[in-house]
Symmetry: C2
Subunit: 282 residues, 2 copies
């Protein structure tokens, strides 16, 4: 299974420019990657254990890594709905890109939940529990949630906010990068796009005039429907400052929101605003 | 089954202020409604006919009403994926709100596809075909698609653009209405919100300061997960011009895009920008 994993905090650095978010990694563009995963379907393991589908159940994963930032300090844990756990794309993986899964990536065995935030793809998984409620772990009940802007992360109660599961429809510009100098003339812009759980990227647009007009990028075929879709577009650029923007549409006709400022939240998750870079054309 | 049906062109009037869209109804806020539907599950009918699930199949619906705007002139038709057709919420309905289905609403029998654009809930349905491809009808292959802004609707080829299925995450303000005068003091704002197919509304925010700050509206329990969710908020307002904005978040933490101008498309579908009204407070 080729699948893209992305941290819910990818592109957080753009949110930090709106308002500080203490204690969280200032991820720029790099908290996302794609690999080929080999393992067992989680559905086969669950069915082998006698689990049957029930809309009201969840599968909780336990891991041995202790997180000092959790309140109280505890081992990592997380859960997904049994519905998602029984989907064909969810794996217990022991190989990455044809090699034994490295320890840093969760070896010997990790969960891979394509379409969901990376935090649900639990590394070094030691046990699974089918249960009637989501994980009560700090990272499910308190962290990895979209809180309203006015929430105080030091006093928020477990279960407040919107728990994250599916990644949002998103895209980013890979080359050139923010702050680059470019030569006048043809400039090729490349990036990725990824739709929410169960959806495909249908179109990517690029604007070099602050969103007044858009041109469609050329989309590559993704290596699987659970992987990012690469895109590119060559535009002619003149000397001076240049803003390049990109936005993705999914297979239902939904499009990303425009501005990071509208998406600011106290834990800095889910930034899926239009991608924007500023260049100087010489 | 209580379900909300909404035209893909609901809120088109806001798109018309960006650029004209000839030949399409200038829907404002009214191309959406909620009713209790009684009928047979389409899944039961299909299974009774020996249909088994297959990810690659579609169910096409034929209707007798002839559409003069179609090219060439033809009867109405549409299709949905077999996956959606076998979902428990899709009905062949013959009663609406406890009464025989009125002719104007599709009686004697219509399809009801909760979560999808209204165009898929085919009225006066006369036949169904399980087939390997989507409907080739004008209203599936040419209309009810998100075309890029530069597309020419007179020359676009069948299959171009993004075919519409799931409604987008959306909300609207029902009272007060755009252009109203209001008295200074407490003002109660009411509206609806609806998430995309298979998702729930998790939060609705209201802003009376052009989006600089937001307050959470109180959400009512919806009558079913396929129905709109009503919300309300009382704010204190001062004399002068007032813009009221509303936006909905779904259960994955996704939020609506900000501006209708970003969503303009040649057939005027899928406007799910933040809801906005302008009032005069006396």
């Amino acid at each position: 299974m080729v699948a893209t994993l992305a941290c819910a905090g990818n592109r957080r650095a753009e949110l930090l420019k709106v308002r500080p978010i203490p204690g969280k990694d200032p991820w720029e563009h790099g908290a996302i990657s794609t690999a080929e995963w080999t393992g067992a379907r989680l559905a086969d393991v669950l069915e082998g254990a006698g689990v049957h589908h029930d809309e009201n159940l969840h599968v909780a994963f336990a891991a041995p890594d202790v997180a000092p930032e959790a309140r109280p300090v505890q081992s990592y844990g997380s859960s997904i709905s049994l519905r998602k756990a029984l989907s064909a794309e969810v794996l217990l993986a022991w190989e990455m890109n044809g090699q034994p899964l490295p320890r840093v990536h969760g070896g010997p065995v990790r969960v891979v939940v394509p379409g969901y935030i990376g935090a649900r793809s639990v590394k070094w998984v030691t046990s699974m529990t089918v249960q009637a409620f989501p994980s009560q772990n700090y990272f499910q009940a308190l962290d990895y949630r979209i809180l309203p802007p006015e929430a105080d992360v030091d006093t928020v109660a477990p279960g407040e906010g919107i728990p994250l599961s599916s990644l949002p429809l998103n895209c980013d510009i890979l080359t050139p990068t923010d702050g680059d100098r470019a030569a006048a003339g043809p400039l090729t812009i490349r990036g990725w796009a990824l739709a929410g759980d169960g959806h495909d990227v249908a179109r990517v647009d690029v604007s070099v005039d602050q969103g007044r007009t858009w041109r469609q990028a050329t989309l590559e075929q993704p290596p699987s429907r659970w992987a990012w879709r690469m895109w590119s577009l060559t535009v002619d650029v003149d000397t001076g400052p240049l803003t390049v923007m990109a936005r993705a549409w999914d297979d239902t006709g939904a499009v990303q929101p425009e501005f990071t400022a509208s998406l600011w939240n106290p834990r800095g998750y889910g930034n899926n605003a239009y991608a924007r870079i500023e260049l100087t054309v010489m």
